[in-house]
Amino acid sequence: MDSNKKYWKGLEELNKTPEFVEKNKHEFAEPIPIEEVLESGGLLGKTPRRDFLKALGFGVGAVTLAACEKVPVHKSIPYLIKPEEVTPGVANYYSSSYDGHAILVKTREGRPIKVEGNPNDLLSNGGLSAQAQASVLDLYDVSRVKNPIQDGADSDWDHIDAFIKNELTAIKAAGKKIRIVSSTINSPSTLAVIADFVAQYPTAKHINYDAVSYTGIIQANQNSFGKAVVPHYNFDKADVIVSFGADFLGTWISPTEFIGQYVKNRNNKSLQSKKMSRHIQFETGMSNTGSNADVRIPILLSEEGIALVNLYNAISGTTLAGSKKLDNAAAENAITLAGKELLAAKGKALVVAGSNDVAVQTLVNAINSLLGSYGTTIDLDNASNQYAGNDAEFVEFVSDMDKGDVGAVFFLGANPAYDYHSGDAIKAALKKVRLRVSFSDYTDETASLCNIIAPNHYYLESWGDANAIEGYYTVVQPTINPVYNTRQAEQSLLVWSDNAVKDYYTYVRNNWDKNLLAKGGLSGQKGWETLLQTGFVKAAAKPAGSYTFSHELTAVAQTILDHSNELAAANGDKTKVQLQIFQTIALRDGSRANNPWLQELPDPVSKVTWGNFAAMSPRYAKSLGLEQGDIITITANNYSIDLPVLIQPGQPAGTIAVAVGYGRTKAGLVGDKVGENAYPFHTFRNGTFQTTAVATIKATGEQSELAQTQTHHSYEGRNSIIRETTFTEYKKNPYAASGHFDEHKTYSLWDEYERPTYNWVMAIDLNACTGCGACVVACSAENNVPVVGKDEVRRRREMHWIRIDRYYSFNEKGSLITKESEINQLSDGDLDNVSVVYQPMLCQHCDHAPCETVCPVLATVHSSEGLNHMAYNRCIGTRYCANNCPYKVRRFNWFNYWNDSRFDNYLNNEHTQLVLNPDVVTRFRGVMEKCSMCIQRIQAGKLKAKMEKRSVKDGDIKVACQQTCPANAIVFGNVNDPNSEVAKALKSERTYYVLEELNVQPGIGYQVKVRNRTELEA
């Protein structure tokens, strides 16, 4: 039985739009203008033959002359005095930390070239997010501030120190307020430095301000339990997870950590023991988390509050005043069922909500308390320090500035002129502040309003520490000398506050010696050295207490319902919509907008790169007469922006979703003018910044093509790519949907290859993959994959060796869709409710590779280790291989991306090129490239074994995508070794091969996606 479910990548494919059909007919995405040349002018011209000969003659002559260049003399410049620990050609790893995650920084000859997860990291066990992977590129960013700046002109540190100290003394004497505004700081040493600064200047105060804030949770916990913290969530302990718009796998609090926890109950190991968690998501815009959910119920923003109240009612058995039934019958039904399931899983249940509203979070606390989540799935005693922003404090600070009470302000990792909902208010208020200092290493929106920019070191140049989760302390150590004339912000604060400790390294050392080393049972110089190797210390966790919610909820429910009513006012009005503000996985809050790797990382759900969009449902767009790419004006809070429409199946009608993080004006070469800024749509309500609003929309009649990768590289409608089953089905028959039972005789035209020792293969668990995209960035960093930019992506020329394919399918309603024609009979309403499967797609290293047989110059050949080799310098660029590849994983170099002025925003400068991996060559214009299974790592692993005179052990060699995957969805290894992880994974009943029927014998086995979906349908 083959899967009869129809999967499709985009609406063009589903609806078979004429453009899509036309485009797919062609060999190349862009038609080659041969006919044009032949018809107009060209050969019909007067003397085509003579012109041809002239051109040929000139061409040959020019090439000959160009080739007559003398062989360049290369210089070899060794170290003058070689540091003892450096061996040229051998990488050194330093432990450090990023965002509180312990990491390893790979350096070559003193320069960091890659960030890798520390396998012992307690948060994500070696997994890393796309941001962390991309962070190494920013070190070499030419847009960074290169010198301290005073009033827009380069200055020097002595001058700035003298100036600031004078100013501070004057401001202190005048009794004016001094404010240090930062994004959440959880570094114990930095906090201590700030405390010392405040002691020196008693009018100073530290304000945590997060662009995307979690004050709602903190405040709700303060109100409910007297603990003003973001709790530590344990998704791994939850059998039933119900989320109301919390994108916990993508952007919510600590996604890399949560992916690991979440997948623990859904991966192969868990399925083998017949155990799988259940995840129900109620949300508006399609988030990465929602797309992974077992059941995703699309609800309007205005319904979220009512749904939560009703869930509380269902669980508590009471009825809160003002509750009413949802108009959406399906959602109402789902709430009742979800309530039952949660109650059944008491103690192993978890409810989370993405809202930053205190009332919503208080109600969620009440629900979790009823479910006995505190002490099990929610830990309030070992809290998370990842977000501590206090929205009300910041608003008060803005009004203080406006009143003229603030004498000095220091911005540390905060950029409110961009990400505060009223940037204009900040601009106006800042003018009234005498001393404005930014520690930003970019001349960003806020820094450009400051009279002093004291550029901070990048984290790869700094000493420091972090404390993401209570009791988990990680150390940050520098891996390179400062690239520019920057100084660590903490060092500046020490100098300006005349601290007894003059140097921040000593300060960090003292702080660890005194307070932190002991927590990990370490001490003294030896302890410090151990710390620098391990990267962290962990204090014994406090026992997680059980908390009971015992407050009156009437007022809370009233606040929630009132807001729902406000939002619901948009319903029925054609010009008004419910507007949701969200973060994309790639850019998050936009502070890394100048990173081309992140800009080019397709959003998991929308597959859009380089810019934001207004997502709306197909039905809704149709009713407004809008098509994908139509630009609409969105107005709310007296602010309006023009954005192209993205048709997003799965989003309820009457809503649009817009991402923040774009529309930077002073991010740098890469990030400037990409998309539009959606932060001004935030509102300050009930003491917190909120992400929902009623907006008006108006079509402008203009068009802008989105740089979307979703329908590129199509499989021409072949099914059997995605295989999916339900957990019930799987329990009955583990082989369900994997197609293992329809074995049939296969014939082959080709000889079998011998693979006597190694057969490198991969297993990818579709049930573990959440589509986060970290592997895509890791691959770019490891393999020098170029960034091509928005225009080139529109031309389908993105270069990623690994892509995450996102397939939509309809939620089954009793019967399967058996024929393609039936899809056309579906109503638009069904498009509001789709499910999503992600599939990482990379070169399959087929044993009978179709690409190999068509290459006229044998540039791509098979190896005795089961790999499909690609010799770039042999390739002449016919692109036959790409055309013949059924998986569409081959990429063609249309330009010399590292030496072409059209790509100035990426590698086209010597400085940024320092990030290149010296073990992998950069490819020249006109050659094909593709995934090599990180052959440089395979070769290095084998060599290491040879030098140590031992066999290659399973797990010695890890490919870049596997290494960074927070879900451990990718397993790589030698299948000839029956005890290897990969051999075991491929023996799973769920294993199938994509396009198995072609008998190209791919080397990558996928494991069937399983959805725990039964009860709701019942």
């Binding site: 040229p88 190896s863 310098n873």
Partner: protein, 421 residues
Amino acid sequence: MRNISLILKQFSRTVLLIAGFAILGLSAHAQGDATKGEALFKANCTTCHKIESQLVGPALGPLVTAETDDKWLTKWIQNNQALIAAKDERALKIYNQFNQQGMTVFGSFTDGDVADILAYIRADWKTQQAKATAAPVGGAAAADAGPSDLVIWGLIGVIIVAFIVILVLNKVIATLERLMLKSKGLLPEEDLEEKAPVDRMAVVRKLAKNKKFVFFVILCGTVACGSWTWVTLWNTNVHSGYQPVQPIHFPHDLHAGVMKIDCQYCHSGAYKSKNASIPSLNVCMNCHKVVKQESPEIQKIYAALGYDPKTQKYDSTKAKPMQWVRVHNLPDFAYFNHSQHVKVAGIKCQQCHGPVQTMKEIYQYSPLTMKWCIQCHKRTEVNYKGNAYYDNMIAVHDRIKRGEKVTAASLGGIECGKCHY
């Protein structure tokens, strides 16, 4: 009288002789025994001192010669710490000059021992100075001994000029002879001379009409041009024999040949990394801090490091990188790893780099072409013995059983992706 005067003379001579001997003997005693001193000096002092130049401690030759107060010197040598402790002015000056590094205390030296050493130092310094003044003369003589380039070119010039003169003279003689014959009216040869070239052209024309001959010539021409093109194209960008002039004249023949220093002493990366690596200058300094300080080539090392041999201090502000000219230049698209070949395969450096131990200046010995790589991979047997890595390789076992050679190629060593990635 005469006898008396003789006796007196003899007596006075004797007295003078005795006195002279006595004085000589005395002075000899005061100066100490230089040979004894030499032995003592070499056993105890050379770790830190040199006579002619500064090492860890000051250059002793000029210092000891200038210092006349032997008593003070003896005290200093026997126990310098005591002098410093006693705040002796001169002692403190030296102590501070050398970064307050105290000299080793030689309490076991008797006054005589010290005197011997001082005698040796003074004598040796004297001979060295004498040599130094003589050296320029000897140096000039040495330079004259070998024919300079100028002389050779001069001689060649003279020969060429002489040759031209002879030619001109011959021509003149011939003209004169012809004039003489002409004046005698004897010139029948002229007709013959004019006929000869006509005949020659006729032969050429005749040959040009001979199709077989023309074909033959064209064939030869084509073959010659073809083979020249073939060879040239094959050798394009092959740089074997490339021997650029390096910023420091580093004689591999001396270091690797005469001194027999192991290659990996300097190229330490070859064992553990893909790069054999050009040594950093601190490796040179391991020896050249002491050896051959005066050589102008070694001075270049000091200049690059910002090192002052007199004060023995490094000044990093004066340091500038040493820019060697790269000789072996493998293209970026080919991955080569030294450790794989040197450590795992146990290949001698000379196999690819040639007889480095005889090279005055390094040159590229091998062509470094892909053909050359592959040839070796096909021919060389894998050094699998004693390496457990190969134990699990079924292919290796099968081949050994069949008695076949196990080459790098047979283990996949000539597959594209093994070097090109």
